[in-house]
Amino acid sequence: MENTIQLEELFDAKLERGEFIEPKDWMPEKYRKTLIRQISQHAHSEVIGMQPEGNWITRAPSLRRKAVLLAKVQDEGGHGLYLYSACETLGISRDEVIQQLQSGKAKYSSIFNYPTLTWADMGAIGWLVDGAAIMNQVMLQRTSYGPYSRAMVRICKEESFHQRQGYEIMCVLAKGSPEQKAMAQDALNRWWWPTLMMFGPKDAESSNSAESIKWKIKRETNDELRQKFVDRTVPQAEHLGLTVPDKDLKWNAERNSYDFGEIDWEEFWNVVQGNGPCNKVRIENHVRAHEEGKWVREAAAAYAAKKAKAAQVQVA
């Protein structure tokens, strides 16, 4: 017991000095658990996030847009893999984290439980959803767990193309025909509030927030990041000539920030709990893809075993 207290003091001192925690370092069990939960959730979000955009690859309006969307969705898969890799350094296997996703024990970002109804949604997702994710991920580059931080640095380098290609789609639509502009406005209307929900519950109601800040897993709170996102994004919407669907949105000169309306928290919790429009189909697709890939995994493993055996015979 005394030993644990000493180790915890050393751990705290390390964080205090701004040092990173590495996989083999001693860490409190709760720190490990929190990180496994957060990193796996983050990885699942990247992977499940491939579905709403994958939905439009075959219907992209030009070859250029198709190539871009394909590259973006491939990146999301890659980001998922960086994060699974970081997560595994905490002593959990890939099998187990995938199992947790498929059984519903592990969550992923609720934003991906909304459907992508029109091409403009590809613009809104890149601009808003990736924009919000970047806000969070830029902060996480300085997270206290080394492998997570390093994965975030890689991800941030790649992510800014995602947001820019989305905004470009919005620009083209917003300056297009009245129908195209209406389509862009409709996408903004549907994605604005779910995007604000991506930052999570209010600080006062966020059970994990204080501890994550103390352990420097997070460097900024949900509300701080959300405010920053609104302040940066509203002028971008104005530039497009689109209207943010919030009647309470107004500039507050005193705070040097935008005031904005109340999020529908009932909707937020409802989607988190599995009742969003696409929760079911997202997991079904994941399970199906996993099962359909089973023979490939088995064949590759059998081939590897056969080759290893042949190599052994040759040596003997």
Partner: protein
Amino acid sequence: MSSVTDSQWPVWEVFVQTKSGMPHKHCGSVHAPDKEIALQNARDVYTRRSEGTNIWVVPANAITASSPEDIGPFFDPSNDKPYRHPTFYEIPEGVKYM
């Protein structure tokens, strides 16, 4: 609901050399059944934007690492041997190129 009992293959650590002349740097891991597929997976996952000229993949269980607890005794010798550093030695003024 599926049960994920099938294998996800062994873990390989990935080291990428960004350009010739530079050291290989650890950048993460991949799962693969053998070394050829490990290399291909590493290329797909870690070098999508020409980040590399060369990749090493190493079975994760083949790596032996020092323990953080050893940090004191394991790395100590260098601190009490300042004569390993060039600044330990006095060179007369006016002597050049040394």
